[in-house]
Amino acid sequence: MRNHFCGSADHAVGRRAFLGASAAGAAAFADMTGLGVLGSPALASELKKGQKRVILLWLAGGASQLETWDPKPGAATGGPFRAIPTDVPGVHISELMPEMAKRMKTTCVVRGLNTRNGDHGGGAKLMMRGRRDEAGLRYPDLGAVVAREMARADSKVPDYVTFYTQTEGRSMAPGDGGFLGARFSPMELTTNDTPDFIRRPDGLSDLDHKERAELRESLGKGFARGRAGGDTLGSHDEAYGRVRGLMASESLFNIGKEPQKVRDRYGPTQFGRQCLIARRLVEAGVPFVRVARAWWDSHGQNFETHQEMVPELDHVMATLIDDLKERGLLDDVMILTLAEFGRTPAINASLGRDHFASAWSMTMTGAGIKGGSVYGKTDAKGGTVTDGEVNAAKLFATIYRGLGINPQKNYFVGTRPIPLVDAGTEPITEVLA
């Protein structure tokens, strides 16, 4: 399912247009990092044909389902917030999300997650990978699988980018290529909004850098002539080619290239800025971007925490949906909100909610997903799933299917076949478009 150039006339035109619009003379580095090329209908069309992408909004620490997607107003466990109607008849969400309430026709809510792991580290691994690691076998996470499945073979942009700027919980939820290896591990941004170490050193001119690459290529060809083992050299060539592409991709992280009114739409917060960068990245063909927003672990003052953080999520998520829709990308980009778990219905003495993995919620928007759908129900107090229980494997099977990936597809570790999700797991067909 990997998206190789198929050689068709349509794609050839698109590809030529794409290359032509890239930096002059840089055809050898057919990157997608000059966002101007995305004004090309041929390229936009090419990107749209099949390459699905994902933006994961990782609500690290565990956002409360009761203060977001599954409110229980009036219940002893419901907390102080009201539920408000949405543009989907009969569906209510927290009053903290008025913008998403107007956009629920774009979004599916899964309310019946029962993932049985209320530990930050274990829960994060489970919900990043869709399964538990085995002894001696580290599974790739969702980003790595999507990168593996969706990355363009000739792409020079990163395949998997993750923002996790806050320190809390970061080490418990690292992006991980697992057995797919470093090729599909993420470019991790942890200190600021721009990748470290991809900028050309000041003492090296761009011309020098290109000439070094040409010299390396020339020597490599001479070395390879008449020798077996071309795969190894090809791998080196690909790696060096990606270096040039990744260097050129720095501009994708620069929201200064966006009009002020677009930046204003996303708002002044770091989460808003990073989601705008995520949009720029997927627009340029990056298959998977995670924007981690930490830290929702509200053992004390749960309602104040959510009063502070949910409006930001509501605003930024709604803006992201609108922006992708206006750019014709929402059918190809899936936005997920997910965390390691939700929060207890019970309210503790500090007016906090604790870890809870038995009945919580997530959302899917866009590519392959039936907007306006709600799957699963919880009881009146939010303590148990009463209908439509979903575990991590089923959720991942649904995500993969929505992206057009066969969840039962096998990878091979040695000779051992490894399906993308636990064998026999079926997706939630009711929420697939």
Partner: protein, 334 residues
Amino acid sequence: MPAPRPDTLKPVKDFSRTAATFAVARAAGSPTLYLGAADFKVSEADLSASKPEAKELYAHASYVTGLALAGKWLVSGGYDGKLIWWDTEARAVARTVDAHAKWVRKVVASPDGTLVASVADDMVCKLWDAATGKPVRELKGHAEKTPQHFPSMLYAVAFSADGKLLATADKVGHVVVWDVAAGEQLAAVEAPVMYTWDAVQRMHSIGGVRSAAFSPDGKLLAVGGMGKVGNIDHLEGKARVEVFDWKAGTRVAEFPGDKFAGLVNKLAFAPDGSWLLAAGGAGEGFVQFFDVAAKAVLRQEKVAIHVHDFVLSPAADSLVLVGANKVAAYSLGL
């Protein structure tokens, strides 16, 4: 008459509640307690009963977080943004007012019972005619957003003993003293230590100035909250009180807390000014008595509940604490 000494504080009785109680009001000398709680209800309980029991009077549409008695009027405020006037004589709701666009955090009555003040997360303090429920004026002196662009919260409000001054205090530690009659800002002081913004680990905030009280002569203003917090997942900052000479704009005393973690949710001076009482909590609760002039802790005790509010009798001989699932009465000086 000297106020009872803090070392005479003794528990009298308590009773459990199924919901956290956020607000309490009591008329001088009356055994009747009015309670506002997380069950959205305003209830009353007879403290003289052998087994006091809360009985519902009426309900809001969310948590009830403020209660004030002004003569025969009980005025309640809640997270539904409404103020409800209950006629304690007729035992009926007299009016419901859409008072604020966001959560009402606290409601207090002026000492003469003519005015009611409410503060809410729309960052406005509103003064109301206690008898008619008509708006009198709005006091706007708090920013709607924190410096980090998140919604701020206006937690605390207190009248001075003569009713001429009003103090309001917000999440980021900004405290304003108002001239009630003129509706003008007289002074502002800052308690920034009570606001923790974690920009590195968790990217959100906790804390805020949760309580305020004037000294009987109106010269000092005490504010309460919690000191800087390392792990803002929990209320683990030390309970903190600062006292200001608000006219001079100087802090005259600080009680950073050495024993209890959590928020100071309520403050009150003894009627003779000899001590300052603070109460609050985290997972557990506490009461603390301070000698402001001597900058000394007189007494601090763990109590069975995270205290959200208390009512101290005019003679300071009776104290009722309310909080997480319990109401507890204490005596002083007996």
